[in-house]
Symmetry: C2
Subunit: 199 residues, 2 copies
């Protein structure tokens, strides 16, 4: 497994919890880890083939001859070793890319309305995310979920929660600041209009 790509390891990590199909992996990633990790089918299926080719996972074809049925993958001993090695390496952080902040940075004076709409939208989204997150945090400990390391999962969710809270607070403060700027702009324009009328 060359390169320092994390996709195969993310999948391997899920397989260590339980044998799974590509479709199920997708679902897990779209629910349990949606706040900090995701993969598309275009990544998952090729990665599963690689894992099999490396002997890190075993494939079992459930019912139906000819290979079209459901394919379940299980981690192997070699796979466990590889996963352990990877888990011990320090996590890599990706270069920051936040298009909203870039657009704010590049925006022109007098360009107030679009940012206001985006930030309002972000506020709605983050508030909704926080609600879902807190519901999940509540359900997790008492729920049907038996994650091998619930405690660490909760650490991860708490990180996301704090990021979301910070985003909400920023939105509120920035919307207030924008409202003041808009008032000033409106007054300036009205004054210009009056000057125009009486000239």
């Amino acid at each position: 497994m060359p390169g320092h790509r994390s996709t195969p390891y993310a999948i391997l990590g899920l397989l260590r919890m339980a044998p799974m199909s590509g479709y199920e992996i997708r679902k897990e990633l779209a629910s349990d880890t949606e706040y900090f990790w995701s993969e598309s089918y275009g990544q998952i299926y090729p990665a599963l083939h690689e894992l099999k080719a490396h002997g890190w996972a075993r494939r079992r074809t459930a019912h139906a001859e000819g290979g079209r049925g459901r394919q379940t993958y299980a981690i192997t001993a070699k796979g466990r070793e590889a996963l352990d090695r990877w888990l011990r390496e320090p996590p890599r952080s990706s270069p920051p890319r936040n298009e909203l902040l870039l657009k704010l940075f590049l925006a022109d004076r007098e360009f107030l309305d679009p940012p206001e709409i985006w930030i309002r939208q972000l506020l709605v989204d983050e508030a909704e995310r926080l609600r879902k997150l807190r519901r999940l945090q509540d359900q997790l400990p008492r729920g049907k979920h038996r994650h091998p390391n619930l405690r660490f999962w909760l650490f991860s969710l708490e990180h996301v929660e704090r990021q979301s809270e910070a985003a909400v607070a920023w939105c509120q403060k920035t919307l207030a600041a924008l409202a003041l700027l808009q008032q000033a702009q409106t007054r300036r324009r009205a004054a210009a209009h009056r000057r125009h009328l009486f000239e």
Copy 2:
């Protein structure tokens, strides 16, 4: 300019502030926007050629015949229009990918030391980032920098600042929780050791 790639527009945005060379663009992106945006040379130079091909930027070859000298790019009227259109579109957000949180999620019970080291490191990094950020926020308003929209730049920096603060708080809380877990683990192991001795 096909696709919804933001690189050419980020560059165009810088060119609207002042004509610049590829090298200078790199430097701006590595200082002014380092906290929320960056580009590598491998992106910048091809993008500049595309901008020129689209008539969104004009190139002037400074001194030296033969094309090897410094190449300065300036935005054109068409470029301004394109940038304006792009700036009005809502920002796209990228799917979340945080390898630290993924590793925590995948970690095994009893696997306490590596996460502790990573989080300690993150705490150091975020604290340093906060210091630099706050120094920048202080210098910006009174400094030599005459950004066309200082106010919005500060909004962006404030977003990063709040994210950093949230990260620092999470690190501290999580380190404390980990320390408790480690103590419990040590006690468990000592007990096992005593059982072993007296058996």
